[in-house]
Assembly symmetry: D2
């Protein structure tokens, strides 16, 4: 578990809500994606769009994602999202996201992502790579 | 576990893919939503848009969702999605989705949804209701 | 033409971009929608989610929208969007949006929207209503 | 004006609709994108995902898009979309889309797209290329 928690605040838009007047579920996974990029930028000091070039990777593809929906978020609600790496493994890691609406947790999300470069055997495919120690170290001391 | 499996076939669109050239993760949760509506229509013989009126509910809000990403899906890939209720409880149920690309499982999804009507105490809110026996019976005999 | 211009700054997200690495076109129309709500809140001092209740309308449905794409926006680009009502008519109005990336116009958008309430003859439908003078006056003096 | 009209039929999904219960405007531009790919595949006999490689281009980037919204489309509505190239120019072309709901036109869309390859001066950018005569000929005789 790393201690650093990044925060991001945003307002729910009309087009993110469904006919029940609440945020459509897939949008939360889009928010989690924002959260992970925000977290990595905050800790590493590298713009998300420069992350791949800086570390010689293709991206941070997801292998698992999940969400627990506790309370709905509605058009106009101000959301505060926290994001935190909960575990680093050799070449993958877990991120936990929590969305607060009106001060209480509305959604809990989790992602498992891979530190991935091009597969030398087939450059059209991605392949996991060991997480660089300087990356994990930065998270532990952030 | 109910035995009925609904199937839906579709092709991955350009706008569903991200700069890595693969389907952006949130889109899969949109696909799972399609799958659940498709399944309920196939079993109950009720158009998704008539489901709420037919059964006196507001909708089938999600309380939990998850996905395991095994292989990427790319622009132009033909996807076959299967959807199946894996458990009915008093007022909630689980749906399992599997997306096949080129004949192998690319993504496994799961949703937990609630059979929800208006909360009598506050009609602007939703409240779980017992699943009607005629609904669960239809799934068991479909 | 009203003089008030609202501004909104945001960063392009990974999930908003397509396999060409640029923002997928439909996302710009989502941004324009953000811009119109932001503009109305800035001028009227009413939260977007309270606009309908405050003025007894259902919403501001679009009757026309368009965009001219001059330069691409990419993952990580910081976008500055300006929004301005360019004409008020009896019950409709035009909004112009401009998205600036790195200081130059990348996209020009326009929307024509209707001030719409419930149709008395069929409450499931919307019907245009005259724009309240206090609304248009606020735009002219903002 | 070319004579070939491609057709595509689909059902409006829950997640494509907004709190007013109608399709959120940006989704129509996603539909138009589907329409153009469908049209090119029907006429050229080339899978959309193979189009770039087959013709040595990067894609068909939009320079202009617009929509006229005549009637709403709702969850469960069956939409029939027609797509047709209305003009070919040296390196760009116009596509007209029409969405029919319950047999009447609900939305009219138009796109102007460019036949684009990599810019030799800067491969990270796109540059228009002359439309190959075999492509425009195929549309005229389809």
């Amino acid at each position: 578990m790393t201690d650093f928690i990044s925060r991001r605040k945003f307002t729910i838009e009309w087009g993110q809500c469904d006919p029940a007047g609440i945020v459509f579920n897939s949008r939360f996974f889009e928010f989690f994606d924002w959260g992970t990029w925000t977290l990595f930028e905050a800790v590493l000091g590298v713009k998300p769009s420069d992350l791949a070039a800086t570390f010689g990777i293709v991206g941070l593809p997801l292998v698992d994602a999940g969400a627990h929906f506790i309370a709905p978020a509605r058009f106009g609600d101000v959301v505060e999202m926290t994001s935190q790496v909960t575990e680093f493994r050799r070449s993958s890691f877990d991120v936990a996201h929590r969305l607060f609406v009106h001060g209480t947790v509305a959604v809990e999300g989790r992602e498992t992502r891979v530190w991935a470069g091009r597969d030398p055997a087939d450059p059209s495919r991605m392949k996991s790579q060991p997480l660089p120690p300087e990356v994990t170290a930065r998270f532990r001391t952030a």
